[in-house]
């Protein structure tokens, strides 16, 4: 009885749903290629935390105003952004400008959906080569970094003083180990990092991996094994907590803020939070095995212009991109985010004039290395997945570091060789 009575409203409801879905489809299709005369340009970025009316949104709009157009900005979560961009390209309605996480640039470029800087007539000669490398594929450059961030080692000054460790003395793995041993004597925890089985895990492991002299093309080299043994040794000795296996970089930071950890591996984006911590903090570059700053992976977004069927739109697109990538533009972006280091020497100089204490970070960014560089391009995600799996296997005790990395190399070679 009840079921019968429900039929009509149910039918109405399903009709409404179906109509709504169809309407949704059709309204989606006028997103990107809208008519040039309308003066609306679409812009996607991965900063949903910056809402409408925020400094960042206003800054984007200001660049549109300068070019005499309105910018329609949509913010997505980082991973969702890549998927959305792919879907839009498939439907042939890409936005005019995308700010994209740097390891994803070569992935999108490979599909042929991104204009090269030469096609657009953009000048990238001032950009630091190590940062630009992430946007290069087969000799072409597909975008400009709007800023860079990277990893370094934050420390808790109170704990280091108590343990009698001078942060300046930590220059290589040996002094790092000695410092951790001294700290463990005080009953505090030594170090925390993220060995999660996602890209974050690889991102955090790479400074040690590269710092040992290993290369992503050979995951089971003796240097690579040494790097993994270093981490494993810290877990076994109790210098690092077992929970690093499930720590995200955010969790790492929360652990550090409890004041129980002497060191935390984390990024430029925590500079403000570190200044507000309940204890004095400092930062040093991540040590390489035999001394000096280890190359940490670069983070940060590229500004790219997807291919449009209406090529007349490029003129304005270029104006918008140029507005974001002048030295003043870079510094403004850096200040808006508080954690972005400009990718050009001019920009870095201008930033240091305003904020001299960011010099460790500028140094770290200069030493940093793109994950997709060395012409790895789209092979990187495949290799990275094997790398984080190996790190997890070794740290959780499934396999020893050598066996884990051997398996990783075999799997990575099988997958990348097939393409």
């Amino acid at each position: 009885m009840i079921a019968k009575k429900l039929h009509v409203p149910l039918a109405l409801a399903t009709t409404a749903l179906a109509v709504g879905a169809l309407a949704g489809c059709s309204s989606g299709s006028d997103g990107g290629d809208g008519d040039a005369a309308s003066g609306t340009y679409t812009w996607w970025d991965p900063y949903p935390q910056h809402e409408e009316g925020s400094d960042w949104a206003n800054r984007v709009q200001a660049c549109g105003d300068d070019a005499g157009v309105t910018i329609e900005r949509t913010a997505y979560d980082t991973t969702a952004l890549t998927n959305q961009a792919l879907l839009a390209a498939q439907e042939n309605n890409s936005p005019d400008v995308i700010l994209l996480d740097n390891p994803a640039v070569s992935t999108l470029a490979e599909t042929g959906m991104v204009s090269t800087v030469d096609e657009l007539g953009l000048d990238v000669s001032a950009v630091d080569e190590n940062l630009l490398a992430a946007g290069e594929l087969d000799g072409e450059t597909y975008g400009i970094p709007v800023g860079a961030n990277t990893l370094a080692l934050y420390y808790n000054e109170d704990i280091l003083t108590e343990a009698g460790v001078d942060p300046a003395s930590i220059t290589d793995w040996e002094s790092m180990d000695a410092a951790l041993a001294a700290i463990s004597g005080t009953g505090k925890n030594g170090i925390t990092f993220s060995a999660l089985n996602t890209e974050e895990g690889s991102f955090q492991f790479l400074p040690w991996f590269w710092g040992a002299g290993a290369e992503l093309s050979e995951l089971n080299s003796p240097e690579a094994v040494e790097a993994l043994e270093l981490w494993k040794g810290w877990l076994d000795a109790g210098y690092a907590p077992n929970s690093v296996i499930t720590n995200s970089q955010n969790t790492v930071w929360e652990e550090f803020l409890t004041g129980e950890f002497a060191f935390a591996e984390n990024g430029t984006w925590q500079v403000n939070s570190a200044a507000e911590a309940d204890f004095p903090t400092g930062v040093i570059t991540l040590p390489a095995k035999d001394g000096g700053a280890a190359p940490a992976p670069t983070g940060g977004e590229f500004i790219i212009a997807p291919v449009q069927s209406d090529t007349e739109r490029y003129d304005v697109t270029v104006q918008i991109i140029e507005c974001m990538t002048t030295p003043e533009g870079f510094v403004e972006t850096a200040n808006t985010f508080a954690y972005y280091i400009p990718p050009t020497a001019d920009g870095q100089e201008a930033l240091l004039e305003e904020n001299p204490d960011l010099d460790t970070w500028v140094e770290a960014v200069q030493a940093a290395k793109g994950r997709t560089s060395d012409n790895l391009g789209t092979d990187y995600p495949v290799i990275s997945e094997q790398l984080w799996t190996a790190v997890q296997s070794a740290l959780s005790g499934v396999e020893d570091p050598q066996a884990a990395l051997d398996a990783a190399q075999e799997a990575a070679a099988a997958e990348t060789g097939g393409e």
């Binding site: 039929h7 039918a11 109405l12 399903t14 009709t15 749903l17 179906a18 879905a21 169809l22 991973t79 890549t82 998927n83 792919l86 390209a89 498939q90 390891p103 994803a104 992935t107 999108l108 490979e110 599909t111 042929g112 959906m113 999660l196 089985n197 996602t198 890209e199 907590p241 077992n242 929970s243 296996i245 499930t246 789209t378 990187y380 995600p381 495949v382 990275s384 997945e385 799996t389 997890q392 296997s393 740290l395 959780s396 005790g397 499934v398 396999e399 884990a404 393409e419």
Partner: protein, 323 residues
């Protein structure tokens, strides 16, 4: 009483005489009208089914029989590879482990969710002060957003600072690396999933219990059957149809669980809690490079598994109906 019994046959003959006359004239017109009306009423539903069920299913099969690299995805020129993706999935070293993990995850989740859900349903059948409130509280896991409950579970099970370990250590036990050891990661996510599934079982089984007439229990207790005997001889057998559908729905829900495992362990460490659903999700969205075709192949295998159990259920139901 007897008078009412003798009166009954009269209206019976009356109704028969109404339906019998002139069947030729009326039926065709009514049928024609009802056909169009029926179609008009069904049309939105059919459209809905096509858009939201048939299309995704066909698209998923389409993805799995082509080699969709990202480039091919954008340019729409994926190569047809037949069952190659399925072959690659089935021969992958991960397949055996993922299948075993899926089986363990589903089996343990279902058994404990059902047993605990049933125990609670029987418990709440007796009304006692505050029973309504308590029953409501048991629904909380269902109402909480999964991201919240899964995060809370992963905090509680944290190796170094989780409350579970601090209790174990306080009582002299040794720290257990719940989420970070390959031996316990799967167990941990199963425990969390059982907790999540209990309210669903409780609600459906509780409503099933309401349909068992109370006089059967009264008769049984007059015959001297104790609570235990009553449960096994009345409650359990009479609850069979409800139990079957609860278990089937539970199975389908559990097979495709991604969120709670993904938030707690992301399938790790080293794949020790990777189920087929997690594997599929990771191939498609978990790495920097979406591998849509193998992901779709794994997803379709899951659909097939769920279908097999669906047919099982239908067969059992049909057998019960005929018997």
């Amino acid at each position: 009483m007897t008078s009412s019994l003798t009166r009954r046959p009269a209206p019976g003959t009356d109704t028969v005489s109404v339906t019998v006359p002139d069947p030729r004239k009326r039926r065709p017109s009514r049928l024609l009208g009802s056909k169009w009306v029926a179609f008009a009423f069904a049309a939105p539903l059919i459209a809905y089914l096509l858009v939201f069920y048939a299309f995704p299913l066909i698209r998923s099969i389409d993805l799995s029989v082509h080699d969709y690299t990202i480039r091919a995805f954008v340019q729409g020129n994926a190569e047809f590879v037949g069952f190659e993706n399925y072959a690659a999935v089935l021969s992958s070293p991960l397949f055996g482990q993922a299948l075993l993990n899926t089986t363990l995850f589903v089996a343990f989740s279902l058994v404990f969710q059902y047993a605990l859900g049933l125990a609670l349903a029987v418990f709440f059948r007796n009304n006692f002060p505050l029973s309504g409130l308590l029953r409501g509280l048991f629904l909380v896991p269902w109402l909480l957003p999964l991201i919240v409950s899964a995060s809370v579970w992963s905090w509680m099970l944290n190796s170094d600072s989780g409350i579970v370990n601090s209790v174990i250590v306080a009582f002299g036990g040794e720290q257990i690396n719940w989420l970070t050891s390959p031996e316990t990661a799967l167990t941990s996510v199963i425990i969390a999933n059982i907790w999540l599934g209990i309210p669903f079982n409780l609600v459906i089984l509780y409503s099933g219990l309401q349909n068992i007439p109370i006089d059967v229990y009264e008769a049984a207790s007059l015959d001297g059957a104790g609570a235990w005997k009553q449960f096994w001889s009345i409650t359990f057998p009479l609850l069979k149809p409800v139990s079957a559908i609860t278990l089937l729905l539970g199975l389908v829900y559990t097979l495709k669980v991604v969120d709670i495992i993904w938030i707690m362990t992301a399938g790790g460490p080293a794949n020790s809690s990777t189920t087929l659903a997690i594997w599929s999700y990771r191939e498609a969205f978990g790495t920097g490079q979406p591998d849509l075709s193998p992901a779709a192949a794994v997803g379709n295998l899951l659909i097939v598994i769920a279908l097999i159990f669906g047919f099982f259920y239908l067969r059992i139901q049909r057998r019960e109906a005929t018997s």
